[in-house]
């Protein structure tokens, strides 16, 4: 591909570039719709029906229904757009972040209190 991606080897990290934005366009625009309270209510009342109004892939819809944020990001979602989903759920960035690490919310919160995830450990993996 013509777009150079010098950032593709950073472990556990998806850069939201033009390719991801194109893949996730409708998923992310759906998320923006949750900035209106009436749309949040409609989504809470019938998630599937709401999702079906958007030309998203079935995989994207399933990822939303399952609140699988890693999968949503893989499919073109960006965390700031996806934040509208967990905010609608009344959940925090920390909840969503924990869910992506495979740690329990408690273990994740404790890791953050202890200074966060160490970068050295991560950088070994490169």
């Amino acid at each position: 591909m013509a777009l150079k991606k010098p950032y593709s080897n950073i472990p556990g990290t998806t850069i939201f570039d033009a390719d991801q934005a194109r893949r996730g366009y409708h998923l992310n625009q759906f998320c923006m719709s949750l900035m209106k309270p009436e749309n949040r209510e409609r989504f809470k009342a019938d998630e599937r029906a709401c999702l079906d109004e958007w030309p998203m892939s079935e995989e994207q819809k399933q990822a939303v229904l399952k609140r699988d944020y890693n999968r949503m990001i893989e499919l073109g979602g960006n965390i700031y757009f996806l934040a509208k989903i967990f905010s609608t759920d009344g959940l925090s960035f920390q909840h969503a972040a924990a869910s992506m690490t495979g740690m329990s919310q408690e273990a994740y919160a404790q890791m953050m209190l202890s200074g966060g995830r160490a970068p050295e450990h991560e950088q070994e993996k490169q």
Binding site: G12, C31, Y80, G90, A97, G102, M112, G115, G116, R117
Partner: protein, 279 residues
């Protein structure tokens, strides 16, 4: 003549806004965070700036994927707090300085910065949390605010160098404005954090503290740091730190560090904060 008197940088973590809005600032988790802003609250009450050029990034609030400006300057009379999914923050409407904003826009566009003019723009936690940290919970914000939104969400963001140069252009613009105004420039976002994927929760104290050192004493050198270094070392959302360079570019080469604060964590993020005056 208008003049730039000082610069402030601070993280703009949404959980800090929530802690303030929900009355949790005295909770043990939050006490050390807010303690780091005690000096700054007194300082700014004495400084009484007329206008703040507040550099921040929109977090998919005002800008969807339909239109993503690299730099957007708010030229409206007012800016409403955005509804980011849990209702707008219960903070005052942000009042702009439309004439100074238009003057800055005109000046920096003619200085080869390709700004987008925003005449209607809701402002999210990126802009309102720093105001809350410095001003608390007033009925009205005590000064006017010119929002300057920087794209750091959709790759590629502007380079650190470009941000630094924009800061210098903003300074030239402010200093060519006839009215007598004290203007501060604030740079917000950061410090190290990553909100996505298996690496979420990344914190890099060493990187952050070196950044705090260099932005005071070696901004020229720091402005050459490439995008990839931020992402690799400070996390995918750590790239927000380039916005601090706009603030720094607007100040003198030599500055006096009035206050420095660093704390881990606030939610997923390392909190950093500087108060700088022109030496």
């Amino acid at each position: 003549m208008a003049r730039i008197t000082a610069g402030v940088s601070t993280s703009h973590v949404p959980a800090i806004g929530a802690a303030i809005d929900l009355g949790k600032t005295a909770a043990p988790y939050w006490v050390p965070v807010f303690a780091g802003y005690e000096y700054s609250k007194k300082w700014i009450a004495q400084q009484k700036p007329d206008v703040i050029v507040l550099v921040y990034n929109d977090h998919a609030s005002a800008f969807s994927l339909d239109l993503v400006p690299t730099f957007a300057i708010g030229c409206a009379e007012e800016f409403r707090p955005a509804d980011e999914g849990w209702g707008p923050r219960p903070v005052p409407i942000v009042k702009g300085h439309a004439k100074l904003a238009a003057h800055i826009a005109q000046s920096v566009i003619q200085d080869d910065f390709d700004l987008t003019i925003a005449n209607r723009m809701d402002v999210d936690h990126g802009l309102t949390v720093p105001l809350s940290l410095l001003f608390g919970q007033p009925k009205q914000w005590p000064c006017l605010v010119i929002p300057l939104a920087v794209n750091v969400v959709l790759y590629p963001p502007p380079s650190g160098r470009r941000c630094y140069e924009l800061g210098r252009a903003i300074r030239r613009a402010v200093e060519s404005y006839d009215d007598d105004l004290d203007v501060q420039v604030w740079g917000t976002g950061g410090m190290s954090h990553q909100l996505q994927g298996p690496r979420a929760g990344l914190i890099n104290r060493q990187f952050d503290n070196a950044f705090l050192d260099r932005i005071v004493n070696d901004p020229e050198g720091l402005s050459r740091k490439p995008h990839l270094d931020y992402v690799r070392e400070a996390g995918s959302e750590g790239i927000e730190l380039v916005m601090w360079l706009i603030m720094r570019g607007a100040l003198n080469a030599k500055v006096t560090q009035k206050h420095r604060f660093y704390h881990v964590p606030a939610s997923n993020t390392a909190v950093g904060h500087l108060v700088l005056e022109n030496a």
